[in-house]
Structure formats: structure tokens, C-alpha cells
């Protein structure tokens, strides 16, 4: 297919997809909603909303313990959801632990694995991380673990030579994002994982931005941990996933302690349940699991290769259209080949919050602020950026509207 044909084809599919998302029918300030805040959270298709509703209408019961019909059904729904979610990233169900979000997944590793680290051990992360992949390691740093940051180049790529230099026999973990939630940079995580392993360290991937948009295969990456969340990939909030390699998870201490994570409890002590339940204390989020599983079915139906084609298509078009606006500064890579998810920028001297307010008047939802990445903001020399992020239901027309609204904002701020 020619590029133009392919673009048209992708566009037609997006138009069809839009019909599955009730919230996209909304008007904001008299304008059709243009939702460009997908890196914060995606919208949900009717199928996901209805499946979760049906779970509560027909099956609701607490799982794993009771033997009555509803409990059996709920357990079956929960564990078959886990199978589907695991296979989406090419993991086994026992390596697929449910959490409440990607942040909790990373905290699980910091507590259950990280508390065994010794004083003087080192963890390497990067300057482009979301706070969720910095603050849990700072918690360990406060206990004597050394935390190092890999810098970026001015065009938004990790300095791989610095990583090479920082790795040594004290390095126990490299914690890196797959896709930056600000710059959109797609990091070479297979290479990073292999470098970490060569130094005898483990590798944790923050895949919150990537699992929604790129095909992700944990076996191919060969990472030791991978964290993602349901709500950025058409699923519900309050549902996250941690993938961990079986042999590592088996050696780890539990995270939360309580019901369901035990094998037996006496007044003298307790023994732990098998994987993955050892890490899932308390009543689980069954509707969340079935919601994520349904979201995955939806994504599988359109195909992750198509999702990435659309993402690339939108991203390149947006880069091209925005680059033509006088006074704009785009952060991170300028080609969609190595950029996904997020397009951050600043326009003249308009503060991102003011810009987001002006765009909201036109029904356009973007993100403004530090994007939970204050060290990166400092590195970029800004206090905040504006960010547009796209997903499967966004169209090229919406990017045109977005660009028009940016020109309008310049008028409001009287910038020539």
C-alpha cells in the first residue's frame, strides 16, 4: 500500500473505532471532545464497561475460597483473565501478578526484592523516568543503596555509553522506562537488559506507556520485571500488572501480608502461597482483571501491529504539523520511528497551564505540567511542558483542529 493509501485506511478504521467509545460523543464547551491526554489515561470502549457491569450483575463473589456457584464462576473469570493478560505479553500466569497500578508494581519490587539489598549496592535508573520509577528507588537509597541516573542527549535519547560506564559488579538493578511519558522516546530495552545481565544485574522495565501501544514480549526483551497498568490501554483504573521471572519471584519475600497470600497460618507463623498469589494479599480486583482482559481482547482484535502503525502515523503527522507552527519547541525525538505515545512541547512564552485552558475552550484535552517527571523537566530546563498523546480513536482531523487551536492560543497571548 502507498503511504497515502495506508494513511487513509488507518483513518477509516479509527473512525469506526470511535463508535465504540461512548465518551467521544461528548461536547465540551460546544465543541466535539478531542481527547489527546491518552498517556494519562485512555478512554474505555463500551465492551469493557459492559463486561465489568455484567460481572457485578451476574457473578460477583469473593474468589478462591468459597465453593458455591458464584465463587466458582468468579474464580474462573479471574484466573482465565490472568491467562489472557499473561499471554498478551508472552508470560505465564504464575509470573503475572495483579496490582493496583504500575506504581504499585514497581513498589512491590522495591519492597519485596529491594529490601534484601546490602549497603553499597547500586541501582541505575534514568533522568527520563516517571516519578514512579524514581521515588521507590530513593526509598531504598535512604537505606544505604546508591542510586545513579543515566542522562539523555539533547535530542532525547539515553546516553548508552554512560550506562556502559556506570554498570559494575555492585549494580543490582537497572530500572528503565520502555517509552518516556514526556519525550515519547522508545528506549532500546533489549540492549539495556542484556547490558544489565552482563554486569550481573537485573532489569526492570516500566512499560506503562508501551504495552498500550507497542507489541511487548517479555521473553524477547528477557527483562526480569515489567510493570504496566490497565487504564492506559482501554481497561479500568485500579488494575495493574507486574511481570516477574519465576525463579526470581520464588526467592522474593511477599509484599503485602494477609489473606489469600498464605498457605497456612498458625499463631507461631505462616507459610506463603504459590505464585502468583503469594503477592496478592486481600480480596482481589476481579472486575478490574476481567476489564483488562476484555480491553486486551479488543486490542488483539484490531491487532497490536495496527495499533503501532496508527500511533506512528498520528505521531509523524503531529510532529510535521506542529513543527510548522512558529514559536513551537518540541521535546524528544522528531521522528515517529523512535517515538511513541507522547508529544511534549512549549509554545512561545505561553505557560502550559494557560495553553491547556485555552485549548479546553475548543474542547481539546491535553496535559500540562511536569508530568510526574520533575528531574526530566530540570534536565530540559523548563518548569513544565504541554503534552498531546494519541490513541487508536484519534484522527488526523483532530490533529488539524489541535494545530488550529494552537494558532488561536498565540492570538490570545498576542504572539505574532
Amino acid at each position: 500500500m502507498s503511504d497515502v493509501m495506508e494513511q487513509k485506511h488507518i483513518h477509516l478504521i479509527s473512525q469506526e473505532i470511535r463508535k465504540d467509545f461512548p465518551v467521544l460523543q461528548r461536547k465540551i464547551n460546544g465543541h466535539p471532545l478531542v481527547y489527546l491526554d491518552n498517556s494519562a489515561t485512555s478512554q474505555k470502549p463500551l465492551k469493557v464497561i459492559e463486561t465489568m457491569k455484567r460481572y457485578y450483575e451476574n457473578h460477583n463473589a469473593n474468589i478462591h475460597r468459597s465453593v458455591h456457584k458464584l465463587a466458582e464462576e468468579s474464580t474462573e473469570i479471574f484466573e482465565s483473565s490472568r491467562k489472557n493478560i499473561a499471554s498478551f505479553i508472552n508470560a505465564t500466569p504464575e509470573e503475572t501478578i495483579f496490582t493496583k497500578n504500575a506504581t504499585e508494581s514497581i513498589n512491590l519490587v522495591a519492597y519485596a526484592w529491594g529490601l534484601d539489598l546490602q549497603k553499597g549496592d547500586e541501582i541505575i535508573t534514568t533522568i527520563m523516568e516517571h516519578h514512579s520509577n524514581i521515588v521507590p528507588w530513593q526509598f531504598l537509597a535512604s537505606r544505604g543503596i546508591k542510586l545513579k541516573f543515566i542522562d539523555i542527549t539533547d535530542d532525547g535519547f539515553l546516553k548508552m555509553d554512560q550506562l556502559e560506564n556506570e554498570l559494575n559488579n555492585k549494580t543490582k538493578l537497572v530500572a528503565v522506562t520502555h517509552v518516556s511519558n514526556v519525550l515519547g522516546t522508545i528506549n532500546p530495552i533489549e540492549e539495556i537488559t542484556s547490558m544489565a545481565h552482563d554486569a550481573g544485574a537485573l532489569c526492570l522495565i516500566d512499560a506503562a506507556q508501551s504495552v498500550p501501544k507497542l507489541p511487548v514480549d517479555v521473553k524477547k526483551i528477557n527483562c526480569d520485571f515489567l510493570a504496566f497498568t490497565a487504564h492506559k490501554m482501554l481497561g479500568p483504573m485500579g488494575m495493574g500488572v507486574l511481570y516477574g521471572k519465576k525463579e526470581i519471584l520464588e526467592k522474593m519475600n511477599p509484599f503485602n501480608y494477609g489473606g489469600d497470600m498464605i498457605r497456612s497460618v498458625t499463631t507461631e507463623g505462616s507459610t506463603w502461597n504459590d505464585l502468583p498469589w503469594k503477592f496478592e494479599a486481600g480480596t482481589s480486583n476481579v472486575s478490574g482483571a476481567v476489564g483488562l482482559s476484555t480491553a486486551i481482547d479488543y486490542l488483539k482484535k484490531i491487532g497490536m501491529d495496527w495499533v503501532r502503525s496508527h500511533d506512528k502515523n498520528m505521531m509523524q503527522y503531529a510532529i510535521d504539523v506542529l513543527s510548522a507552527i512558529k514559536g513551537i519547541k518540541i521535546y524528544g525525538p522528531l521522528t515517529a520511528e523512535n517515538k511513541s505515545s507522547a508529544l511534549s512541547f512549549n509554545l512561545g512564552d505561553i505557560h502550559p497551564h494557560d495553553l491547556a485552558t485555552i485549548l479546553n475552550d475548543k474542547g481539546i484535552a491535553i496535559r500540562s505540567g511536569h508530568h510526574c517527571a520533575q528531574p526530566l523537566m530540570k534536565r530540559l530546563g523548563v518548569s513544565a511542558t504541554s503534552r498531546a498523546s494519541f490513541y487508536i480513536y484519534n484522527t488526523l482531523e483532530e490533529i488539524d483542529k489541535f494545530a488550529e487551536a494552537l494558532e488561536h492560543a498565540k492570538k490570545v497571548f498576542k504572539i505574532g
Binding site: 505540567g369 513544565a384 490570545v412
Partner: protein, 140 residues
């Protein structure tokens, strides 16, 4: 009284006066010998404001603010410094949320109101500190 029902467009918010205070902030910088100072930030957006007061005989005779943020927060801080200059510390400590929103003269959503009110909070922190009182009111 401010209108609460109809929503104004951004052209109404970003009037010339707001843009003027944003681009050419008044009383911006630091005092060489402040009597009292305070600072705070808005964790949601990262806006930061510092305020310094020079007080003589319980009267604010000079004031500066420093910080970064959106047009609303910067304009609000500048206007507030002009408003409280020559007030007694007691008077300044009694300024309210509505005083500041009326001073700005634009209608803001609840989230954007926080931008406008950060400077009030920091100024009141200074005033209360000078009066030796604990600020127990919440400004939002």
C-alpha cells in the same frame, strides 16, 4: 459579585492586563533585608512562589515576589503585592480568597483558582508568621 453560572472563554481570562502582569511582573525579585519571608508550591503543577515583606511599625512598606508559573499565578502575585503594600500586617492577614479573585476580575475554574490563590497563601504565611500566629485556615 462575580458571575458564577456562565463560563467565560479564554479571551476573557487572558485580558491585556493579565498578560501585562505576566510579561512585565511588578515587585518581582528579592528584598535585600526582608523582615519576613515564606514560600510554597502547588504540587499539582509545580508552580512556586516566594514572598518577602519589609515591615516597619506593623506596616508593609515594601514587598517582592519571586517564582515561576502560569500567567494567572504570576499576575495574581504581582497584583497582590501592589494591593498589600502600605497595608498593616493585620489587614493583609485578613485578605480572603474572594478578595484575590475579585482583584483579578476574571472567572476561573476550581483548578485554575488554585493558580491564582497560591500567592495569597504565601503572603498570608508571611503575615501570620510576623504576627506570631499559626495560619490555620485553608486557602483553596
Amino acid at each position: 459579585m462575580q458571575k458564577r453560572c456562565s463560563r467565560l472563554g479564554s479571551e476573557d481570562i487572558y485580558q491585556d492586563i493579565i498578560l501585562e502582569y505576566y510579561r512585565n511582573p511588578v515587585n518581582f525579585g528579592h528584598l535585600s533585608n526582608p523582615t519576613v519571608k515564606a514560600q510554597d508550591s502547588n504540587p499539582l503543577c509545580g508552580d512556586e512562589i516566594e514572598m518577602e515583606l519589609l515591615v516597619e511599625d506593623n506596616k508593609i512598606i515594601d514587598i517582592r515576589f519571586y517564582g515561576k508559573g502560569c500567567a494567572i499565578s504570576q499576575a495574581s502575585a504581582g497584583m497582590l503585592t501592589e494591593k498589600v503594600k502600605n497595608m498593616t500586617v493585620e489587614e493583609a492577614s485578613k485578605l480572603t480568597r474572594d478578595d484575590v479573585l475579585n482583584m483579578l476580575g476574571v472567572e476561573l475554574s476550581p483548578v485554575r483558582s488554585k493558580c491564582a490563590l497560591l500567592s495569597l497563601k504565601v503572603m498570608k504565611l508571611c503575615a501570620y508568621q510576623h504576627l506570631g500566629k499559626k495560619m490555620d485556615e485553608k486557602i483553596e
